[in-house]
Every structure is written in structure tokens, then in C-alpha cells.
Symmetry: C2
Subunit: 246 residues, 2 copies
């Protein structure tokens, strides 16, 4: 539990490699976690080859972690393998739809997160690349993902080069709800975000970006409406291409 409490996202890695033995052990451990109907609706593509990292880099907006980490893992929602099994066993599969995509997506993220927890306990550091669902089609093409396989999330992993600071978190009572969702009043919002807004680092972000508030750094620069709408269209197009929606 201590390694879960003290964790930090690690974006800088030593050039030390991760042995296949350790990596396989961590992956096998992660595959023990819960999965929909014990179908294990995921696959993991392991990237170690520098040339492949170079190819994946633009899909992840050239975040440095992808090229400096010894190992990059793309966890994929995978109903393709299961569908092939069905077809080979005189069973008629019905997994070319959105619900099935979401089942596989949950399975992939659960396995990915268990991998992260296990890796951190073993002294490794990880970073999620949320960019995976931003440019799914590029990743599909590079990793040659067939129909009913979709990249869910990417994890860079390696031995940490230094110990980064721990990120702030919202107060617990700003996230949990007793019995029913208690919608937030303006006073609640002020209270919940007060600590985050007080941090010197976040005040610097505001100044650097010549904004008035921290929220504006998110809405105007980091996660804009325009980008989100374009990415939503990309996502849907790739879902169609991979056969999960019609």
C-alpha cells in the first residue's frame, strides 16, 4: 500500500533496460486482475525497438518519455482474438458493437493499471500517455492492429532517473459522495479547488500563459473545446474503421 500512496509519475528514466523476465512477470501479474466474463479482452504490444519508438513518437505528440523509456506498452481493447475463437468453434460472435468495445476497453485499462501498480512496487516508474486515444488510427497502422482491436492506453516504463515531486490531489471529500451524488455548490467548488489554485507552480502556469485563472489554462490551451471536438471525430472514425461501430 505504501508504494501506491507514495507514487509519482516518472517521465525520466535511466538507460538501464528491463529484463524480459521481470517484464513478463509484471504482465502476467496484471493479467490476474478482473476481466469481463473472464474473456480477457485485451492484448499488449511491447515496444523496445528504437525504430518503432521513433514511429510511435508523432502519435504521442513527441512526448520525450516515449523515446527515453526502455519499454513502451500499448494496451489494446481486443475482441478480435475472442471473435476468431468463436468462429473456429461454430459459434456466431456478436462483438462488432459499442457495448463490446467498452467491455474490452475496461478490461484493457484494468490490466494496464494493475501493471503500473506492480511495476511501481518493483521499483520501476511509469507514465501514462493519454494521447493514445487522440491519434488511434496512427497507432493502429504502426502496430498493425486488425479489426476489433483498438489502442486503449500506452504506458512508458523504466527505472526512474531521480524522484520527481508528488502531484497535488483534490481533497477526498471533494470526490466521494454518500449514497447519492451531492451536486457541487459554488462554495464547494471554491473549497475543493482552493489548494490546487494556491500552488506556486500553478500560479506560474497562469502567468506564463498570460491567463487570468488556472481553469483558463485548461480550457484555452491544454484541453480546448476545438481540439476535443476534432479528437472525438477521429476517435469515432477509428472505431468505425476497426469494426466496433457502423
Amino acid at each position: 500500500m505504501e508504494s501506491m500512496k507514495n507514487r509519482r509519475t516518472v517521465r525520466k528514466y535511466l538507460s538501464k533496460d528491463i529484463s524480459s523476465e521481470l517484464l513478463n512477470d509484471l504482465l502476467e501479474t496484471s493479467f490476474r486482475s478482473s476481466t469481463t466474463g473472464n474473456m480477457q479482452l485485451y492484448s499488449v504490444v511491447i515496444t523496445r525497438d528504437p525504430e518503432m519508438k521513433e514511429k510511435l513518437s508523432p502519435a504521442h505528440y513527441h512526448q520525450p518519455a516515449i523515446k527515453t523509456a526502455p519499454v513502451v506498452l500499448t494496451f489494446c481493447a481486443d475482441f478480435g482474438r475472442f471473435t476468431k475463437w468463436c468462429e473456429q468453434r461454430r459459434a456466431i460472435p456478436g462483438y462488432d458493437n459499442f457495448q463490446s468495445f467498452m467491455n474490452a476497453f475496461i478490461d484493457a485499462v484494468i490490466a494496464a493499471q494493475t501493471f503500473c501498480t506492480a511495476a511501481e512496487e518493483a521499483g520501476l516508474g511509469i507514465c501514462y500517455l493519454g494521447t493514445t486515444t487522440y491519434n488511434p488510427q496512427m497507432i493502429i497502422d504502426i502496430l498493425k492492429l486488425p479489426k476489433l482491436v483498438f489502442p486503449a492506453t500506452t504506458i512508458t516504463v523504466g527505472y526512474p532517473d531521480g524522484i520527481p515531486g508528488q502531484a497535488d490531489r483534490l481533497p477526498l471529500n471533494g470526490i466521494i459522495h454518500d449514497e447519492r451524488y451531492n451536486d457541487y455548490t459554488p462554495a464547494d467548488i471554491d473549497r475543493i479547488y482552493a489548494y490546487k489554485e494556491s500552488l506556486a507552480e500553478n500560479r506560474r502556469f497562469i502567468a506564463e500563459n498570460t491567463k487570468e485563472t488556472l481553469a483558463q489554462v485548461f480550457t484555452d490551451i491544454r484541453y480546448t473545446k476545438k481540439d476535443n471536438e476534432a479528437l472525438s471525430e477521429n476517435f469515432m472514425k477509428a472505431l468505425r474503421q476497426q469494426g466496433f461501430i457502423s
Copy 2:
């Protein structure tokens, strides 16, 4: 790592309660896990009240765990709180779209899975209810989830009543891929599913359901095309209702 390797899904619980102190500690630990842009796009609704469990029960097809577990947790994708914050800070939010839903959904599942790992390490047992996305609208109504909040997954948690057997898993090399996705040949499929198909328990399922193959138990009974298509429509309707797609 040992508790991750040895884990089993627990569906039967002792009547012993979980203290708020322990529960809060586990939740706080889970909120240390990775989150998109440190936005923490999730909320957790805690159900302890037997009356609320009774109400939630039909949404989960009356799975017994929901009424016998001392605590039921509904992890929700939540862009509502963040959007309220933006609106209160002269920032124009753009999170009423599919990409934002998926970002929040990933965040919710990552936190849920870290909770499970921490709970298991603390001697508790958990069970995921995948039914959460089958009847989202029922859960939205019961838990009073506002716009831009969506139930992602539900976990029942309690002290285990007995130690269930460990479920089988596919062989590691049936799930991982080096550098590129190596699509499965018929021989690969036979090999990967051989152990699962050999299990007495699975042979019994085939006989009980008067089917020819285990795959047919999945396609004809457990996860049918007809159900998946109806559930996909339900899901999309609820996504629209909660403001994530138009």
C-alpha cells in the same frame, strides 16, 4: 505483488462492516493513481444503505453480491465538477463530447482498479459489476448523477466469506505481442484456448447449456449479439442524456 498474483474475485462476504476510516484510506490511496492532466475526472458514490442497495439491485440483474456486500462503490466518469469549476473561473469548458467522456472514463477505471488492488492487499475481497454500463440510465436516476457524470463501473467490497478458487487465465504468450500485433493463426487459437476448454467446469457449462462448444455458451447465452446491440443503443442514449454526445 503476491496479493496481486494470488487474487480471486470474491462474491460472498462476511456480515462484518468496513470502517469508514479504512474505506477512506483505500479511496484516498486510489486517488493517487494516474489521471488525465491531473484533472481527476471521477467521482465515487458510496452505497451502504440497504434500501439503496435494493434500488440498485435490478440495474445489476440482481447479482447477489450487491445486497450482501457491506459496501458498494459506483465509480463515475465525472467532467461535471471540472466544468463547474471552469464556469466559476471565467473559463469556457469544452467537455461535452466523446473524447472528454473517454478521458473521464479511463480516469474512473484507473482509480477503481487501484482501489481493488489496495483493498485486496488489506484483506478485503472485491467483485466488479460489469452490468454498470448495461443499465446506465437506471443508475443515473437512482444515484442522481447530473450532466457530464456517467457510471463507469461498480465494485462490491467486503471481508471474504471463504476463499474461492482462482480463475483460469490464457497463456501469457497468447496476449503479448513483440513490436507489432501478430495476428492469430487457427493453430494459435487452438493452442491459446486449449487449457480453458479442457477444464471440467467449462465442460460442464457446455453440457448444462446443451451446447457443442464453450464459445457457443458465450455467443448464444452469456454475451449474445442481440443483447450487445440493445445495450449499445442504451449506452448511446444515456451518453446523449448526460450531455457527452449530441
